[in-house]
Symmetry: C2
Subunit: 313 residues, 2 copies
């Protein structure tokens, strides 16, 4: 029994870790990957994705998704975080070409082919998912659940005081996704920033016999340099891999109440914030009746060792 998965990503260094982790996880099978502008533009993200999939010895269809967010235009990504090519200047062998369909079309098709079974993992801005909801209003009834790396519940953001990059890069799309009637699992900075790779993990990747493991190990140089300014030491957050491991089930969300979540899509200072109503959590109440978005606030164990074991092989 393997779970069919559609991955939506903006590859991206931590996207690369998540992608390789998913390819190496026997309980899931990637049926398709769509890319979106975020860490890097959608076309380059598709290039990076195709190359890493091939280097890992796999073949997964990749579709280029939306270049621009729903409002405004793509602002150029985060080269200070992920490098000018999105993967820290790591040269990957060129391999394959993207599909003719768009990412949104791919998602709609896969949901129709695997009704009630397809799980969606979104680790970039939610533009493609919002476009898919426009294409097929019945999409929520066909998708089993949507796991999203994004937002900040009770910790600071990473783009503004309160907003996280994936949501901030397309708040209108994020609002459409959390408002749609499907089960969403939000994996916010609150937990992703607590799960880290260190230089020891990088060394293990670089020493691997596996070329894909060595490639993601090499990417970490750029990422560690950025995160030195965040953490005060060389290491990195495991944003996208944590969402992947929660989807796979290797990491369990031990505290993930279903609560009302609103995305701030105003032009105000809170633009891009995920307002998670956790007020009732103070008295120990778990789920808010009717809420369909779970916000992950605690997990059962650190992801680092689990991820390293899968990637090093």
């Amino acid at each position: 029994m393997t779970t069919p998965v559609y991955l939506d990503c903006d590859t991206g260094i931590d996207d690369s870790l998540a992608l390789l982790y998913l390819l190496r996880s026997p309980s899931v099978v990637l049926r398709g990957i769509g890319t979106v502008s975020g860490n890097i533009d959608a076309a380059t993200a598709a290039r990076n994705t195709l190359d890493l999939v091939a280097l890992a010895g796999h073949a997964v269809p990749v579709a280029v998704g939306e270049h621009d967010p729903r409002v405004g235009s793509y602002a150029g990504g985060a080269p200070h975080v992920h490098g000018n090519d999105g993967i820290g200047g790591t040269a990957l062998p060129r391999a394959g070409e993207p599909e003719a369909e768009s990412a949104a079309q791919m998602l709609v098709r896969l949901a129709a082919e695997h009704p009630g079974e397809l799980e969606v993992l979104a680790v970039g801005p939610l533009t493609n998912l919002a476009a898919a909801l426009d294409l097929d209003p019945e999409l929520p009834s066909r998708v089993k659940r949507v796991v999203v790396m994004g937002g900040a519940a009770q910790t600071s953001g990473n783009v503004s005081a309160v907003s996280e990059a994936n949501i901030h890069n397309d708040p209108e799309a994020a609002a459409a996704v959390v408002d749609a009637p499907w089960d969403v699992v939000l994996v916010p900075l609150d937990v992703t920033l607590e799960n880290r790779f260190t230089e020891e993990d990088q060394s293990a990747l670089l020493d691997s016999a596996d070329p894909a493991a060595r490639a993601v190990g090499a990417m970490l140089d750029q990422y560690f340099t950025f995160y030195q300014g965040v953490y005060g030491f060389r290491g990195c957050a495991l944003h996208d891999p944590l969402a992947a491991a929660i989807l796979v089930g290797e990491i369990e969300a031990t505290r993930a109440p279903a609560v009302p979540v609103v995305v701030d899509a105003t032009g105000g200072p809170g633009r891009g914030q995920t307002l998670c109503d956790l007020r009732h959590q103070r008295s120990g109440t778990a789920d808010v009746p009717g809420a369909h978005v779970r916000v992950v606030l605690d997990t059962d164990r650190p992801l680092g060792p689990v991820l390293r074991a899968r990637l090093v092989g």
Copy 2:
């Protein structure tokens, strides 16, 4: 050496605790008290304040302040929290009359009389402080510091998912106060909700020989009933008393970085939020250069026993 203090309040049950605490603290002297609509309307808050001051054996001038927030009108307070009279139905002996001047005029006058020495403690909506800034643009240079009970930095709000009542009741005024060039100490829900009175504290107050202590002990019935829904047990948060104890110096703010703070005064879902930019705290950096608002995130010891000792006498 006693510190001259202007108190701005919306008395209120926890305001009453803070007021009695200040009257019983030898290192500060209350030079004047202004009231504002919040927990209860400004006029009733002045009545409650005058009566409690007299019952405590003190004489402090009380000025009625703004009834309505800067935008819109007073929405009727929080009778489910503080009772229909603001003090949980506790009948206090009637005593004294408010001053002819407004709260804003009183604050401006006291700052001029104690230049560089006056400390302001604001435990209600910030309407009067904003009005005082309008009356006297030089006010910030004359006030030593402003301690505000308000906001939520990294915890949920108590009015909305992200906003705390004092700020939410007049976001435009709060924005004016945090934007003005004076030193502000923000005491948010993050710390006030962690400091509590229990039924044991209430019993000690009710058993006191002091009529003012017994009166605030009686008020706690109403407050405890509300907080049972928040905490799951009978007890209450010590919002306003914590801000008072930090001003007095009996409680030390052990973690209170100076950071950029923006109040959301939009009409969006984040209206009334205090957006505290704590991103740099992740790497252990303390103060952000140029920031003049300190956000209290940790204190040295629980307030409960300290407050109880002062109030029981």
